[in-house]
């Protein structure tokens, strides 16, 4: 195995020794896992002397306020809340307050719209799962099976995706810890070969997967609920500690020459001056060719002059990927961001100074940026008639590029596509030298140079740059868009409409509040609370809980823009990095472990719930209700354990090599479940005239309308991006379609029997 030199992996402007927070993370993690297993053991004790199915999958319908409130809150807060959401705030600024704004009514919506009634109907019918309710409410076996099929279809994809997310989070958290890297290095090669994502990912997947599968399988619903409670408390405490530290430290970090204001006002004022960074590829070099492989970790600061420059002319970059200088190779290409805003640059140079001061190996401080490159595509015209064997696309070749009606000239660095021989119609990946936005007068000169190059190399005629990414944000980088971090729609790397155009802001009000109400995983929890007093108090508790979590997160990670410049290079690490920075700056590095446990807790609490939902669908809805209604409790118990274990292991194996577009699949399944389930459940609970024909039509209609928009998007060549009529998200179309189809079909078909209506909608006589 090659020897590697590692640059210190703690690399922000408040550079710290890695050992302290690293040990805290490991210590917290171990305590945490231990706590989870203790809870599972206690929960298994509860399974004794109770109806196994009801206890294992529904906690015997006996959840009190804290258990019910926090399990619902924690399950709804997936890993995204503590990794993806902070990364989005950091990347797009204050507009995330609007993005998450509907959380002001999410608790009352997801618990109050259906809660009381679904709990009552579940008790009347003796239902344990959502398909159970639909089947019994309409006395229709097919309905139960259709809903089971949809739940298994959506949840299986989602479970694989959540397993991957959990492992990625663990890898992000443990990545900077030396002990973890040593453990990965000691793993046998065959272990890492199971996954295309590397041995470190495999190790995290196995640790995460085995922990979740074991405690969920052994402890059932109560284990899931009580670990959720523990996880919910960890998340809240983390945010409460971080908020004052973030405001205080961000204010201190602002140069007094930049702002006369204090506190959050200074932070907002500073953010108003910021311009999003540029995405480029840089060529790094060391003064001498290395004699052994040298690794440069992601997030390393480098400048265009090799040393920290203190003038406005200096350019500062931060690497996005781990980069390896092979022995003997003097230059290495790596993706990076370039800091643009003057005040960001000042803070970045300070961070770089700090990094170089702590650079024991002397590698980072000697890195020089030799090249700045942009990605481009070179197109050979399909009607090219010359001799392509004579075409040489070498460094320095000038090629024309049409940009918004203006002819511009790019300077080729290299073709990166692997091609044996050029063919007409080829479109090749390439790098061009840093593409500067030039004046018109200069362009004329460029074009003259290009025309004269054609007289020397006439075979280049017609070959052109078909697309070029100059690295600037599509929205937020232009002069007239400065201030995009404090205004809506917020900066966006790819979309010229910005991060949150108005139509999307409306869609998110549907997405969080209404789509959240339609999630079967939430519905199951609504079937488990003890009485209506518990429901009332829990809605209040979750409302306060979300208020204390979500809006403060927006403030904290707006402050992160000041404290940790350049984190766009690895935005998903902003949460752990911020935790380490905030706590170590006040001499309490050990606290970072607790804060860092929050995102891990969030994803665990989501995964365990999904796992139990799939196994309950298999055991209850398929086996007991359709294959063996007379199954003994012993058989059910054995099967419940086996199915939970098998489903968990299946998801773990699926996550070893997860399919492409996984994040898109998570979005698709979340909104697809709501489109399919919300209307039928609302009709079943609140409309006495509803019947199974109408509700099945609503379910299939919602599923179909939602799916068809994804199919149209795919046919239009958008990949996994759905077609959005009037810029509205598919969830809105799916929900409207589902409600309308269900309504029409119900009225066109026979009403339900009087017996069923009486059972579910009329008062039962005493005695």
């Amino acid at each position: 195995m090659a020897h590697h030199t590692f640059i210190s992996s703690m690399k922000d402007n408040f550079l710290l020794a890695a050992a302290e927070p690293g040990n805290s993370v490991l210590f917290t993690f171990l305590i945490y896992i231990l706590g989870v297993f203790v809870i599972a053991w206690l929960s298994n004790k509860l399974l004794q002397n109770r109806n196994f199915l009801s206890e294992y999958f529904l906690g015997s319908r006996g959840l009190g306020v804290w258990a019910f409130a926090l399990t619902l809150a924690a399950t709804s807060s997936s890993g995204g809340s503590f990794m993806g959401f902070p990364a989005k705030i950091y990347t797009h600024g204050w507009v995330l307050a609007l993005w998450i704004g509907s959380y002001m009514v999410v608790p009352i919506c997801i618990m109050g719209l259906l809660g009381k009634r679904i709990n009552q109907v579940a008790r009347i019918s003796g239902a344990i799962t959502v398909p159970d309710i639909l089947r019994d409410r309409f006395n229709n076996v097919s309905f139960g099976l259709v809903s089971v099929a949809l739940i298994i279809f959506f949840m299986t994809f989602n479970l694989v995706a959540q397993f991957k997310a959990g492992s990625e989070i663990l890898r992000t958290l443990l990545g900077p810890i030396d002990a973890f890297n040593s453990a990965v290095a000691a793993l046998p090669e065959w272990f890492g070969n199971f996954s295309g994502l590397g041995a470190d990912y495999m190790l995290c997947l196995v640790v995460f997967g085995v922990a979740v599968i074991v405690y969920t399988t052994y402890g059932g619903f109560h284990a899931v609920v009580w670990t959720d409670v523990m996880q919910g408390i960890v998340m809240l405490v983390g945010v409460i500690i971080m908020l004052p530290l973030a405001i205080n430290q961000a204010t201190d970090a602002i140069d007094s020459s930049d702002s006369s204001k204090t506190g959050m006002a200074a932070v907002t004022e500073e953010m108003a001056k910021m311009v999003p960074p540029r995405y480029v590829t840089i060529g790094l070099s060391l003064p001498e060719s290395p004699t052994e492989d040298v690794q440069i970790p992601p997030g390393t600061w480098v400048s265009s002059q090799g040393k920290v420059p203190h003038g406005k002319s200096g350019r500062v970059f931060r690497t996005k990927q781990r980069n390896v200088f092979s022995a003997g190779a003097p230059v290495s290409l790596v993706e990076a961001i370039e800091i643009i805003s003057p005040s960001d640059k000042r803070r970045s140079f300070k961070a770089m100074e700090s990094q170089n001061k702590n650079d024991a190996d002397g590698v980072a401080s000697n890195l020089e940026v030799r090249l700045v490159l942009n990605n481009a595509k070179v197109r050979i015209p399909s009607d090219y008639v010359g001799d392509l064997s004579k075409v040489e696309l070498k460094t320095g070749t000038l090629l024309p590029w049409e940009d918004q009606g203006t002819q511009r000239i790019a300077n080729l660095y290299a073709i990166t596509s692997e091609v044996e021989s050029l063919k007409a119609g080829d479109e090749l990946d390439a790098y061009v030298f840093d593409f500067i936005r030039t004046e018109d007068s200069f362009l004329e000169m460029e074009q003259n140079v290009y025309r004269s190059s054609l007289t020397e190399f006439p075979q280049l005629e017609g070959i052109e740059i078909s697309s070029l990414d100059d690295g600037y944000y599509a929205y937020g980088a232009a002069d007239e868009e400065i201030g995009s971090f404090v205004t809506a729609p917020g900066p966006h790397r790819d979309s010229t409409s910005g991060f949150l155009p108005l139509s999307l802001a409306i869609s998110f009000f549907f997405m969080w509040a209404i789509s959240g109400t339609g999630q079967p995983s939430n519905m199951v929890r609504l079937m488990a609370f003890k009485d209506t007093m518990t429901l009332r108090r829990s809605i209040f508790t979750v409302a306060m809980y979300y208020t204390m979590i979500y809006f403060p997160l927006v403030i904290i990670f707006c402050c992160a823009r000041i404290l940790l410049p350049g984190m766009e290079a690895e935005a998903d690490r902003i949460m752990p990095q911020m935790a380490v920075t905030l706590t170590t700056n006040v001499g309490m590095g050990w606290l970072a472990g607790l804060l860092i446990a929050a995102p891990f807790a969030a994803v665990m609490s989501t995964v365990d719930s999904f796992l139990l939902m799939i196994s309950s669908a298999l055991v209850r809805d398929i086996y007991q209700r359709n294959m063996n209604p007379d199954a003994t409790e012993k058989q059910i118990k054995k099967l419940s354990y086996i199915f939970t274990l098998v489903v968990g292991l299946g998801a773990l194996i699926g996550a070893m090599n997860p399919p492409e577009f996984l994040q898109d699949i998570i979005v698709y399944t979340g909104s697809g479940l709501a489109a399919a389930f919300l209307a039928p459940v609302v009709y079943a609970l609140y409309w006495p005239r509803s019947n199974h024909q109408g509700c099945i039509a609503a379910m299939i209609g919602g599923f179909g309308a939602h799916l068809s928009l994804y199919i149209i998007g795919f046919i239009n060549g958008e990949g996994f991006t759905p077609y959005r009529p009037l810029e509205l998200d598919p969830i809105i179309i799916g929900l409207f379609g589902s409600f309308i189809i269900g309504f029409i079909v119900t009225l066109k078909t026979a009403p339900p029997s009087d017996k069923v209506v009486k059972k579910y909608f009329y008062k039962k006589l005493e005695g």
């Binding site: 809660g115 959050m264 404090v486 205004t487 409306i506 609140y686």
Partner: protein, 111 residues
């Protein structure tokens, strides 16, 4: 139990739990709609297309459009939720499921 169902067991009055939960659901849906209209409209008018972002008006250190478009209505929504949970929402009978009857019986036998 479903098999024992007899039409005569039920009165002609709608079940109060159903009636109350439907009424509460309508109020909640209206609340969601009001929150949507307020937040999106206010933020559209005051948060999008700001002429001079460098001098953006702030309240409590945050952009004013965030405070009045999101933070203030969020607090108002919390107050409403508190009123809804403790003054408006009714305590209703949810009934006893078959599995709970079994449980109660088991407890009685054990006891």
């Amino acid at each position: 139990m479903a098999s024992d169902l007899d039409r005569d067991q039920y009165s002609s009055e709608p079940d109060p739990t159903f009636v109350n939960s439907r009424r509460e659901a309508i109020v909640i849906f209206c609340t969601w709609f009001v929150a949507l209209i307020w937040a999106v409209t206010y933020c559209k008018i005051n948060g999008y297309d700001i002429e001079d972002p460098a001098n953006i008006p702030t309240t409590l250190g945050m952009p004013s459009w965030v405070v009045w478009g999101i933070a203030a209505p969020w607090l108002a929504a919390d107050l409403f939720t508190t009123w809804f949970c403790f003054c408006f929402m009714k305590d209703d009978e949810l009934g006893i499921a078959g599995d709970e009857e079994h449980l109660e019986h088991a407890v009685e036998v054990d006891g």
